[in-house]
């Protein structure tokens, strides 16, 4: 409907006079509103080459205001005085700052999107230069700092929520984990006939008795392998290879769903990839079973969290079946340490 007018002197004289008359009324109206709302005094003199000077509110009002103005010290008068040039200069300065702020904001949004596209392996789809890469590097550093802050925050919350064992206990548990890796696997194998046959504690006792020679046999090599192998599957060769990098992310998605009550996950998206990454991992790296067993023994609260979440109270028999296994494992570990 109405287009933006250009801020310059209107060329047409008639149009200029019309605009002057209209806007003069607007200014007097604004003065009236200001004085009414705030209960203050004001005056104005508006003159133009082709009209008689217009005063507001009246001649006496102007005289009174001018005399009040003159009574003030000269410094106060000039301090708050504003001319057309100074007003425009101030406005330019303010708008310049606003422009720079907007530019910075937009650039950060672009860099954020660019960073996420690179993480997903779409770096080649963007055209970028040295300046862009430099800014991206700085933004990545900034984002990593944010991640570190969040990690620290969660760590503090975690420490307050769950109590960790003392250092002595930790070292003992670590030694037990190292020595008892194989027996735990045997215990796991022994659990199957327990579930099938419904037998008592005697098979567990047999497994416990047979643990000593197996632990001695597997002392050195499994530990060495355990320390290095888990790193391999999580080092992507290049970010351009989307499939290779995408798989670990989905795998963690599945694990997070299974372990933590994470509401932000999308069930529909999670369900189709439920078993594939896990089975692939299982077939590719069989030795990790030992490592997993060790970690299972090492961090008891993880185990407790898992059982508390997954087992409903209606399955009483299953719960009863799992408890002796856990206790037997602990007993076996203690015996091995003593020997």
């Amino acid at each position: 409907m109405r287009s933006k007018i250009k801020l310059s002197l209107i060329a047409n004289k008639t149009s200029r006079r019309t605009t002057f008359r209209k806007r003069k009324g607007g200014i007097t109206n604004k003065l009236h509103e200001l004085t009414t709302l705030c209960g203050v005094k004001a005056c104005a003199v508006i003159s133009s080459p082709y009209e008689n000077p217009v005063v507001w509110p009246s001649t006496e009002g102007v005289q009174e205001a001018v005399s009040m103005f003159m009574e003030r010290p000269a410094t106060e008068q000039s301090k708050l005085m504003m001319s057309h040039e100074t007003y425009l200069q101030d406005k330019i300065t303010k708008e310049t700052k606003k422009l720079e702020s907007l530019r910075r904001e937009n650039r950060e949004s672009q860099l954020r999107q660019f960073m996420f596209d690179c993480v997903e392996g779409k770096m080649s789809e963007h055209q970028y230069g040295a300046r862009d890469l430099q800014d991206l590097s700085l933004y990545i550093d900034h984002y990593i700092n944010q991640l570190n802050s969040s990690v620290m925050l969660l760590t503090n919350n975690g420490a307050s929520s769950s109590s960790f064992p003392p250092p002595l206990h930790t070292s003992v548990a670590g030694a037990g984990a190292g020595a008892g890796a194989a027996p735990l696997v045997v215990a796991g194998a022994g659990a199957a006939p327990l579930a099938v046959a419904g037998a008592g504690a005697s098979p567990l006792a047999v497994a416990g008795v047979g643990a000593a020679p197996l632990a001695v046999a597997g002392a050195g090599p499994p530990m060495a392998q355990n320390q290095y192998e888990p790193i391999q599957p999580y080092i992507p060769t290049a970010f351009s290879d989307n499939i290779q990098y995408q798989a670990p992310v989905d795998f963690n998605h599945q694990i997070q769903h299974g372990i933590y009550d994470n509401l932000s996950l999308d069930p529909n998206h999670q369900y189709p990839f439920q078993d594939d990454p896990f089975m692939e991992m299982l077939m590719e790296y069989p030795y990790e079973q030992v490592g997993y067993a060790a970690e299972h023994a090492h961090i008891p609260f993880m185990n407790g969290n898992y059982y508390n979440y997954h087992q409903p109270p209606t399955v009483g028999l299953t719960t009863t079946g799992h408890m002796p296994s856990n206790n037997a494992t602990t007993t076996t570990t203690t015996n091995t340490t003593v020997v």
Partner: protein, 264 residues
């Protein structure tokens, strides 16, 4: 670093591994059940979110209201109103000076009795001329000769900056619109969420990925520096210093302004 990564990664995998040999079908059943529960909880969360959105919309609709034209009773509100309306008044006066070449002198006393004034060419000249009513024509002609150049230049700068501000706003809105579209289609990934919403495993994973990406970026930067070619592409490389700062004043300013406008 290695120990941290080891501890954070392995436990989650190991627990599932222990369960699988025991009861495969039971495990799948449990996961299905928990999926269903999570889905229901998610529905409830969405409902709450919708209600909050509606409430916020109601609040937004009460933004602008007509006020009675009487003196404001509260002192703080009066002061705020004075500041805002004084700024608006001076803006309108400035526009009138620009558009119609009028000479205006305004004096406003704040609630604290401080004198704020706006004048073109100056408060004293306009008011003194009116009060004394002497040498009006001579003073007027003298003043008119000097003022147009400076005002014209400043107004051109202001117009240029305002247009650039509007352009940046549109760009920001476009990006925001694209982001909202992604959220609506549920195409957003977990690593694109705010950092505060991530859990420990996600944070570690994201940190590792970003460190790898940083190495890649540094490598690419090195190769770019060797090649010494800077390509302007998707990410715009606007200079920090606005171009008009170095623009000379005078008649040639118009030509430079047009040239600069062509570049952008």
């Amino acid at each position: 670093m290695y120990v941290t990564k080891y501890k954070n990664k392995l436990p989650t995998l190991q627990v599932d591994l222990i369960i699988m040999p025991h009861q495969t079908q039971a495990c799948i059943y449990k996961q299905t059940l928990s999926l269903h529960q999570i889905f229901q909880q998610r529905k409830a969360t969405k409902t709450l979110h919708t209600k909050k959105t509606m409430m916020s919309k109601k609040k937004e609709s009460i933004g602008r209201q007509k006020i009675p034209m009487v003196k404001i009773k509260k002192e703080s509100h009066r002061q705020v109103t004075f500041s805002k309306r004084r700024a608006g008044l001076f803006k309108k006066a400035s526009e009138l000076c620009t558009l119609c070449g009028a000479e205006i002198g305004i004096i406003v006393f704040s609630p604290a009795k401080k004198p704020f004034s706006f004048g073109h060419p100056s408060v004293e000249s306009v008011l003194d001329r009116y009060v004394s009513r002497n040498n009006m024509s001579l003073a007027q002609s003298q003043q008119l000769q000097g003022s147009p150049a400076a005002s014209c230049e400043l107004n051109m700068q202001l117009t240029h900056i305002l247009s650039e501000v509007e352009e940046e706003k549109k760009k920001g809105q476009a990006m925001e619109e694209m982001r909202k579209e992604s959220v609506r289609r549920s195409m957003i990934n977990w690593w694109e969420k705010p950092v505060e919403e991530m859990n420990m495993v996600q944070l570690q994973e994201m940190k590792y990925a970003l460190e790898e990406l940083r190495k890649t970026v540094v490598t690419n930067m090195a190769s770019f520096n060797e090649a010494k070619d800077d390509v302007f592409g998707f990410l715009d490389n606007k200079v920090t210093v606005p171009p008009y700062v170095n623009m000379p004043s005078g008649p040639s300013n118009i030509y430079n302004f047009a040239n600069g406008n062509g570049c952008f």
